[in-house]
Structure formats: structure tokens, C-alpha cells
Amino acid sequence: MKKVLEGSMAISESVRIAEPRVISAYPITPQTHIVEHLSQMVADGNLKAEFVMVESEHTAASVCLGASACGVRSYTSTASQGLLYMSEVIYNIAGMRLPVVITIANRAVSAPINIWNDMQDSMALRDAGAIQLYAENNQEAYDMHIQAYKIAENKDVMLPVMVCVDGFVLTHTFEVVETIDEVERVREYLPPLNMEYKLDVDNPYSFGTLGEPSVYMESRFNLANAVNNSKKVIVSAAQEYKDMFGKFHGALIDTYKTDDAETIIVAMGSILGTIKDVVDELRESGKKIGVLKVRSFRPFPEEEIVAALEDAGNVIVIEKAISLGKGGILSQEIRDVLYKHRINSINVNGYVLGLGGRDITPKNIIDLIEKAKTDENMDGEFFGLNSFIEQGNISNIGD
């Protein structure tokens, strides 16, 4: 059914229909509406789950870990400081191969404290062994959560999945979202969780044992393979979803007008909508430009990205996070896979925009495309700074 839904409501609806049995969370802006909606659903009897309202994110993730180890579908959600606080547990969930789904309402990281959107929080967790998917709009956020459980619980995967949605931009925005109304059809797509190994008094196993140097590497090797092998599962989950529910937003990546493009803009999340509008406009004036959407950041879709970019002369990476002391994160990885495939003819310019909720306007993107014409191999250059900083008048920043 088509409804006008706030992003957080769309996500909660999607989680509801995926039927997790244990939900645990701790409030943090801009994730709060999601957990509020879910608690209300439980309170109203519209979702049969234990809602464990905890004293911290560390515990929220730990509750999900414990429940998941019992073979029970679990869900949590957080952002920013909350994600950093639960990061220790996320590494642990991944290492123990537990299929917990975690929504990240992407938000900047302190200091200075800032509640608005960027992607520094989830980027900080990119090496944890959790799958990371990024949604472009509320419809995709809705569809992605159901797919996330399908991916997480696949026998060859068994990993946590972080569904990353831009805080406020998506979580607090109302859009038309088409929801699935028959739980039976979702169950057909996403059968009940049936874990081979779980905490069970009739069949006792030990979980989380000490891995000495003789076995630790093998365990991490298996984990690394599981993350890499999840690529095909992400693809089939998107395909099957399309076949059953008619919605498709790309699998590992998605391309927009890239076929003959000389310039391709690469980005993740909600900013893609604005970029596509700009591209449409530029296409009208004859510019050969397209867009590459990275939907799965972990696993990183190396082959797909190379195939999409190899014929372009210029690549512009727009990202809302930075590896301080190095530069762009997404741009660095794009450059790395191109180099690995012996493609060194592409000028990859990476820019950092929109940190801490700074608006990225269509004009910014047009200006950036213009600037990139003469730039070479920019590595996470800040774009869209206020002029007082450019003038070196940093003392104004406290205002």
C-alpha cells in the first residue's frame, strides 16, 4: 500500500514486517523516532517482540548479541556517539557470526557535538566485519531492511548488517513509500531464522571461546571470506526482492546514465537524489555525465565499480566523511580498485562535503563539477566551506 511516511516510520514498518523477536535500543538523535515507533508497535500488540529498553548502546548491542546467539531474530538501531559506543560489540557480533540487523541513522561525530547528518559514524565501523548498505531514499530504506535480514541470515553469510540511512534527510522526511501488507509474502521471502548453532540446553555449545594464535587467523580468514562471499547474496536478495515485490534500487551498486558518460559522480545515500537532478540538467545541455551509486560499501563491490567506471575519463567522488590524516575514504578505495585493475587513465577527484549537516545544494554540485575539470587527483578536499575559514579567520568558528 502506498502511504506518506516519515523515514523513521517507514523503517519501523519494515522492521515490523520482518518480525524480529528481540529489539533493544537506546535513544540518540536522529534515530529516536525509529525506536519510539517500534516501542509503540510492541505496546499496541502490532509487533510480537521483547522490547528491551536499556541503559546504553553497548548493552543494546549486547542484548541483541545474546538473543541472536539463542537463534532469535534481533534488531537494534543507533547513530554517531551511540555507534562508536557499541562498536566493540559490533566487532564481537561479526566475529561470532550473528545475523543482527542494525539501522544507522547517519550522524556526525563529536567534537564539536553536532546532531546533523554525515557518514563519519558508520565509516568508522567499516572494518568491523559487518555488512554496510546505504539507502538513497525512504522507499529503499524500507526495502533494504527486509533484504538485510535475508542477507544476514543466509547460511553462507551469517553476519550483522548495518543499514545506513542519512539522519534527518531520510529519517525525518516524509515521502511516499509503498509498504508490503501481507506478512505471509514477506515470510515467503524471509523464512523464519533457523540457526545451526545456538544456545540451546538440549544441545550445548560454547560460544566466544579463546582463540589462541594457532586458530585466531583461521577464524578471521573465515570471517573475511564470509564478508566477501556475501556479495552474491546481496545481489540475489535484491533480485529476488524485485521478482516478488517489484522494487529494485540496485544490488551492490547502481548506475544512472553512465553508458556514454565521460564524467561519473560517485556517492552514497540520500545525496544521490540531488546529484541525479543535476545530471539530468547537464545532460539536457549535452554534457556526458552519469552517476554511480555505491549501495554496498562493505563488501566493497570492486568488479562492479571498475566495470562501471573504466570508460570514463573523470570520476568525482562526493563523500560525507574523511579519514583524517589521509583524505577521502570512498575516493581512496575507488582509486585503489582502479589501480589494482591497471587503470590509471582516470582522473579521480575526491571531495568532502556536507559534514555535520551542511547543506549540499544543486549549485554546489554544479560548481564542483566545474572545479573538477581543472583539479587533479584531489584526495578528500573540503568543498563548501564558509568563507571566513578560507580567509583564515578561524576564531569565528565558536559563534
Binding site: S24, H58, S62, V63, V89, V201, L210
Partner: protein, 298 residues
């Protein structure tokens, strides 16, 4: 006498790498004897987890999970929630375990949350008075004047400068239905308390004094003796509480001077050097005397 085969049938089996004389492993065995097979256990990072589950071996013949240092109570909360919602509770005891550090220091927040939310979880704190797994560093439950590697004695120091924190009273302040303090030196009393705890629905806290041979620096054969002396001196009062009221205390027949307890342990050796040390022992005697009055031990 137990044969090797017998111990293989126990729920916490032999073959682990705990030190000889390890009172913590004794307590675990006693607990599982009472709780039986219908138990799911969590364990915080610490000695117990390390010495009982060196992959691919495990001493646990019940479903067992270790996650991190500070989240034993939180993981147990998740297990309990999962069993409840799926109708699999069936009298299963969810046992959460942690050392004194994993309980009273880094895990205190998660423990408080578990109490507050009222999970049906039995939490057991194995109190050996320091971070033993990492090599005898001080914790919030290290006793006054004990030497640890991070509260060393020296020209300017008599060891740990602060008294042990009243962890059982912190548990009681949550008004949970049952709190108890037990000792590896009193197995019958310990098992009685575990049995009672298991019969109560809701959050339970049991703290057990478990002497540690390498950390406290004494010969392995003295583990039980030292545990008993801790009780008989009044330094480790054993009691039970329901909600915030103490309902029973283990009386001591006659007061033993704290010196008897201290002198067996290398961690208090520095108190026996000179007159200044003597005065410190008097301070420890005062702690014991106050406990005797406060808990009505005599």
C-alpha cells in the same frame, strides 16, 4: 573420592587450565552441581573464560557464551528476553558470571541495567579482589592495603589506599528480590544460596569470595583455609538479603584476629615489616570489627 571419569561427567569438567588451588573454578563446579543442565551461562572476559575455553576445548557442558569484559549481564538479558518471547524459558536458569572487575568496575552499568529491568537472571560475581587475568591489577573490590601491581606497596604506600566497595549493598539498592554473599570456603552455604537464588524469579546477585593463589600469593593448599579465615575474622561477612533487607547472616563462633588471615598472604607481606605496618593492620582490624557489629556476626 572422585575419579577422573566422574569429573568428566560434571557440567564443568576437568581439563581446564585454571591454577591449582583456584577457588573460582571450585565455585563454578559447586554452582553447576546445583543448577543442573537446564542452564545457559554467560561469562565476562577474565580468568574463568580464558582457562575454561581454549578453542577447540571447553569445560562447559551447558550452553555457554563469552562476549566481552563488561557485558555479561547485558548478554544474559538478551538471552532471557529471547527465551521469554519464544516460549523456551521452561525453567531454564540464565546464569551471568563475571569477575570482580567485570562486575563492580567496567560491568557495573550493564549489571545495574539488568537489575533495573528485572530480568530473570542469576548474576554471580567471582570476587578474587583484583584483575587476575591481566596480572593482579587493582579493582574496586581490592581490599584495603592489599598489594597489587597497580596499587603497589612502597616507601610511600601500603598498597591499595581505599577500602573495598560495598558491591552487595549496591545490588540491594536496586531492590532486587535476592542478594547473597558466599565463600568458596563454605561450599554447603554457597550451594544453599545458589539453590535459593535459582528458585526466585527476577534478578539475583550472588557474590562469592574466591581466593587466588598467584594473586594473593599463598600456597595452593591454603585456598579454603584463607577463604574461611576471611569469614571468621569478619572481613568477608556472608549474608542474604531480600530486596533491601538483610534476612540472614552467617555467624562466627569466635572472632579471629585479622593478622591470622593477613599473614598467610604475600599481598599483605609489607604490613609485617615495621611499626607503621602494625598500625595499618590495626586499621584492617577496625574494618573487621565494624563488620562484626554492623552485620551482627558474633
Amino acid at each position: 573420592m572422585l575419579t577422573k571419569e566422574d569429573t568428566h561427567k560434571e557440567l564443568f569438567t576437568m581439563g581446564h587450565t585454571g591454577c591449582s588451588g583456584c577457588a573460582q573454578s571450585m565455585a563454578v563446579k559447586l554452582i553447576l552441581e546445583v543448577l543442573g543442565k537446564n542452564t545457559i551461562a554467560t561469562t565476562a572476559t577474565g580468568c574463568l573464560e580464558v582457562f575454561s575455553t581454549r578453542y577447540p576445548e571447553s569445560s562447559w557442558r551447558i550452553p555457554w557464551i563469552h562476549s566481552l569484559f563488561e557485558n555479561s549481564a547485558a548478554v544474559a538479558s538478551g538471552i532471557e528476553a529471547a527465551l521469554k518471547i519464544t516460549g523456551r524459558k521452561n525453567g531454564t536458569t540464565v546464569l551471568a558470571q563475571g569477575g570482580d572487575g567485570g562486575t563492580a568496575d567496567i560491568g557495573l552499568q550493564a549489571l545495574s541495567g539488568m537489575f533495573e529491568r528485572g530480568h530473570d537472571v542469576l548474576y554471580v560475581c567471582y570476587d578474587n579482589g583484583a584483575y587476575m587475568n591481566t596480572g593482579y591489577q587493582r579493582s574496586g573490590l581490592t581490599p584495603f592495603d592489599a598489594y597489587t601491581t597497580t596499587s603497589p606497596s612502597g616507601k610511600q604506600s601500603f598498597g591499595n589506599s581505599r577500602p573495598k566497595k560495598y558491591m552487595p549493598q549496591i545490588a540491594m539498592a536496586h531492590r532486587i528480590p535476592y542478594t547473597a554473599v558466599a565463600s568458596a570456603g563454605y561450599p554447603v552455604d554457597l550451594q544453599k544460596k545458589i539453590k535459593k537464588a535459582a528458585s526466585i524469579t527476577g534478578p539475583k546477585y550472588v557474590q562469592i569470595d574466591v581466593p587466588c593463589t598467584p594473586g594473593w600469593k599463598y600456597e595452593p593448599r591454603y585456598s579454603v583455609k584463607i577463604a574461611r579465615l576471611a569469614v571468621q575474622t569478619g572481613l568477608y561477612p556472608l549474608f542474604e538479603a531480600e530486596y533491601d533487607k538483610i534476612i540472614s547472616v552467617k555467624k562466627i563462633s569466635k572472632k579471629v584476629p585479622v593478622e591470622e588471615y593477613l599473614k598467610l598472604q604475600g599481598r599483605f607481606k609489607h604490613l609485617f615489616k615495621d611499626e607503621a605496618g602494625r598500625m595499618e593492620i590495626e586499621k584492617i582490624q577496625k574494618i573487621a570489627d565494624e563488620n562484626i557489629v554492623k552485620f551482627g556476626l558474633l
